[in-house]
């Protein structure tokens, strides 16, 4: 198992005390596998990703076990995490416009991890960077390497970011909404590229997104998060084909579809996502759930494993995988 997370909880400091933003999240990832993490803003997806990188804000308290390549990440110090970051675990960010330093040439930024982790000379790292830029299907990589970020389009920058993230051949890549800032045709190309490069080198991918269609197309497994907790988890076909959790259903219904009658409104989920230090005793979604019972608010629902490899946390789902 490449990555194994068990009972991860994260508390962020606030002036009123700790605020639990991620509660009891568990999942694992094999080499070469892709896992999608879906959920609305504030559901804890990004915090989970940052915890893997050891890049949580100062004062954040992490509990639970994080194992990467069989090694526990929790006791590692900042220096050891620095060796891991960019080498074994890399990250791609949401905004290609701001994730590259505007004052350094693209080639120098792609070369940086190589100099840092592989000890290459500047010239060797630059040559390798040009190769990498070609590898992410950028035309004329020599010119791109010499360019400053502003001279590139959004799609080109995101490809450059990918080249930078992949430079040291990481075993795990975390892509935090990597295509949200790009238009749809470029989105698909970038994600196809990531999937292809991942398959080439047995690299596992954690794709964080709020877009179910993106996850359905590019991931084998999916994790649905709400209010910092995992609601539903399993193979993409099972979770999105046989949706059980009321929250996942609401997410599916809130998507715009082509060919819907004109003037039909999207089905928004009533209420707002939880925020701030209020700690729900029961299911995080209970307050907005159309099927909520009194028992839902009493204690967090235990995970229920179904025969199709699918696990759901909802007391309204019975052992045969029916919503009662």
């Amino acid at each position: 198992m490449l990555l194994d997370i068990e009972g991860l909880s994260i508390d962020l400091p606030t002036p009123y005390g700790g605020c639990r933003v991620v509660r009891d999240v568990s999942f694992s990832l094999r080499a070469g596998q892709s896992l999608g993490v879906v959920g609305e803003s504030g559901s804890g997806k990004t915090m989970t990703a940052l915890a893997l990188m050891g890049l949580l804000p100062d004062g954040a308290v992490v509990s639970g076990a994080l194992r990467f390549e069989g090694r526990d990440l929790a006791p590692l110090g900042e220096a050891e995490m620095q060796m891991l970051r960019g080498d074994r675990i890399a990250m791609i960010f949401q905004e290609p416009m701001t994730a590259l330093n505007p004052l350094h040439r693209i080639g120098a930024q792609v070369a940086e991890p190589l100099i840092l982790h592989r000890g290459l000379s500047k010239a060797a790292a630059w040559a390798q960077a040009v190769k990498l830029l070609g590898h992410v299907r950028l035309r004329d990589p020599e010119r791109i390497a010499r360019a400053y970020p502003f001279a590139l389009s959004g799609g080109e920058r995101q490809r450059a970011m990918i080249a930078m993230a992949l430079s040291c051949g990481p075993k795990l890549i975390i892509a935090d909404e990597p295509t949200t800032a790009l238009d749809v045709t470029v989105q698909a190309k970038i994600l196809d590229l990531l999937a292809m490069l991942g398959a080439e080198s047995e690299m596992a991918m954690l794709l964080v997104s709020h877009d179910l269609a993106v996850i359905a197309r590019h991931c084998r497994r999916v994790l649905v998060m709400y209010g910092g907790a995992v609601m539903e988890e399993g193979p993409v076909e099972a979770v999105l084909g046989q949706t059980l959790h009321p929250y996942t259903r609401a997410l599916m219904e809130a998507r715009p579809t082509l060919g819907a009658p004109r003037g039909e409104r999207l089905r928004a989920i009533p209420g707002a996502a939880p925020s701030g230090p209020s700690e729900p005793k029961g299911c995080a979604f209970a307050d907005r759930c159309p099927l909520a019972l009194e028992a839902c608010r009493a204690e967090p629902p235990p995970p229920l494993r179904l025969p199709d490899g699918h696990s759901v946390r909802c007391i309204r789902v019975d052992a045969e995988g029916r919503l009662t």
């Binding site: 890049l55 620095q82 970051r85 890399a90 960010f93 701001t98 994730a99 330093n101 004052l103 940086e112």
Partner: protein, 280 residues
């Protein structure tokens, strides 16, 4: 859009050129005074006092018969020295403290910022009087007082600009690729905050020249026989109604230097922007 932009560009280019010209004049005057002045700047010639400008004395002579042109040339040296060293002290200590505060955060950041507030609350003039009272008046003490007053200005500017850069995604991306906080401070933050620092440095340079003139005017800075524009202004005060030109010439020298530095700062800021650089 393009038209407005290019108009703005050419104006920026003009201010850069005019600023550079004025600053070059200042530097040139200081350099020239090292090897040549029309008369020794401190040489008195009482029979020829308060002469109007002529071929022999381009800008006339003062109440002691000293050549005004020679004193202005020599005074540029003092102004330049004060500006360079005072801004150097401010930049050196201020940028280091500001970067440290933004990078270390927490207790260290609070302590540095409290120190800056404390220094801010202590006026440069008071500092100069204090240093003068302790070590006697002189240019060195004036420079030290102005330089120390510059430190918190650069520290605060550096910290706030650095925090702005650290909040941007590429700082996080650099951490995600395994860079340490201090490497990020030097390689990613410092180049990105250079433009406001350069602009502030030229402004502080101009302020330092004004401050030196003010301190010398009060007798806390340059002492005779060292020529200084501030001291020339102080001497001219008694002759304001008889020979106002004695105040006008050094006053003009101060004003043109300050104007030139400000224009240069503005022009440099635009010239240093890589987006504008590539479009040219």
């Amino acid at each position: 859009m393009t038209l407005a932009l290019s108009a703005k560009r050419s104006r920026a280019g003009a201010s850069l050129r005019l600023g550079a010209l004025l600053v070059a004049l200042l530097v040139g005057a200081a350099a020239l005074s090292l090897v040549w002045t029309p008369y020794p700047p401190a040489a008195m010639d009482i029979p020829n006092k308060l002469l109007a400008p002529s071929f022999a004395h381009w800008l006339g002579t003062d109440a002691l018969g000293r050549d005004v042109a020679s004193q202005i040339l020599a005074g540029a040296r003092v102004s330049l020295l004060v500006g360079v060293i005072a801004v150097g002290i401010g930049l050196g200590f201020g940028v280091a403290l500001g970067l440290l505060a933004a990078t270390a955060q927490g207790f260290i950041e609070d302590a540095i910022m409290k120190f800056c507030d404390f220094t801010f609350a202590f006026p440069a003039l008071l500092m100069a009087i204090l240093l003068t009272a302790t070590y006697g008046p002189g240019v060195i003490n004036a420079i030290l007082a102005i330089g120390i007053a510059n430190v918190p200005i650069f520290a605060k500017l550096t910290r706030s600009a650095a925090n702005g850069v650290l909040a941007r995604e590429f700082a996080m991306a650099a951490r995600a690729s395994g860079r340490g906080p201090f490497a990020i401070a030097f390689e990613h933050v410092l180049p990105n905050i250079a433009p406001p620092l350069i602009v502030q440095a030229t402004i502080q340079f101009a302020i330092a020249i004004l401050a030196e003139a003010a301190l010398s005017y009060l007798g806390l800075g340059a002492q005779p026989p060292l020529a200084s524009w501030g001291r020339m202004l102080a001497d001219a005060q008694a002759w304001m109604y008889v020979a106002p030109r004695l105040a006008i010439f050094p006053g003009l020298a101060v004003a043109l230097s300050v104007l030139g530095l400000n224009l240069l700062g503005d022009g440099l800021r635009d010239a240093l922007d890589p987006r504008l650089r590539a479009r040219r």
